[in-house]
Amino acid sequence: MRRERKETKEKKEKRRGRVMWGVIYVAAFLVAFGGSVAFKMTYNPFGDEFSVDWNDSVGRVYNDIAYGEGEANKFDLYLPADDTKSSYGLVVYLHAGGFTSGDKSGDAEILEWLCQRGYVTAGINYTLVSEEHPDASVYSQSMEIKESIPYVIAEAEKLGYPIDEMAISGGSAGCCLALLYAYRDAKTSPVPVKMVFGAVGPSSFYPEDWKCYGFDLGTEESDAAAREMFGAMAGKELRAEFGTPEYDEEIKDISALLWIDENSVPTLVAYGKYDKIQPYEGSKRLLAALEENHVPHDYYLCEHSGHGLQNDNKVYGKYMRKITEYLDAYMPIDETM
């Protein structure tokens, strides 16, 4: 009887121990899983390498300066603290957002970082495609950017920062617009455009490249869908057959690579091989056009990443460091001025 009781007690203790450890395992799993998710989402592999502690000793920013009639026609201007130079280089950075969203304020970090290097920097908004602005398009946005540049330069000059050269850049949609300005509109710029840089910006609009949208199938439906989307982006109806010179002529307004020639500005770009938002295949055409025309360029491919270049920190870091190399090479700051 006594022995039986002892055995039952031991069994109970064993069971209690098993339950307790089971609870510990589950709790540990949940905590470790949650911690890992939080860490992965917030971890910045570059620390403060590409950011700056922004304060008056670094520079000052003027927000929402108007450059046109539209509600979105505004820019932020970042001025370096050192206002003693006789001239400055301007770096424009255009925001991402698929042409339908985004704001210049989202690029404050990179604009501040570049400003801290001694450049006047500007983030420019453009009219986004929306229910209120159904007629907005990549083309109309690119024209707004073109119209904004003289205002940015004039405002900088008014504030005591004469601009004598510029670079244009952006991310995703902003990169698309930056490439367009650099290759299509640079000759109309009030100051020489020295270089362009950006990441994951579409520059070509051939259905066979846009596999991620199913436009490469070559069916009537896929062609019609491609025609509709590219037409909406170009802000006009596309009538020419795909793959013909007439089509190139129609789409040229928004296809930056079709403007590349031997006089195009040095170009630094980064793309993701598995991009689902804009096709990696299109970036290969951009690369080919740069090579064919002997345009100085650097092309970084993030082999494991999509549109966010999120899985290749090493390559992304190299791309960011290359920006400073490009600025030093093509738009150096003269410390003696």
């Binding site: 510990i24 082999e303 920190n313």
Partner: protein, 44 residues
């Protein structure tokens, strides 16, 4: 190996597995949204 040692070893394996799965879960979600591979590239 005592029972407690075994349990601690299992606990360590559970924690490491959960940490790797958490990282992969974020990566998988981002890959669905943006594109990308589950393995390769940066670990952290």
């Amino acid at each position: 190996m005592t029972l407690t040692q075994k349990r601690i070893l299992i606990l360590a394996i559970v924690i490491v597995t959960a940490a790797v799965l958490g990282r992969l879960a974020v990566r998988a979600v981002l890959n669905v949204l943006l594109g990308g591979t589950l393995f390769g590239g940066n670990f952290l």
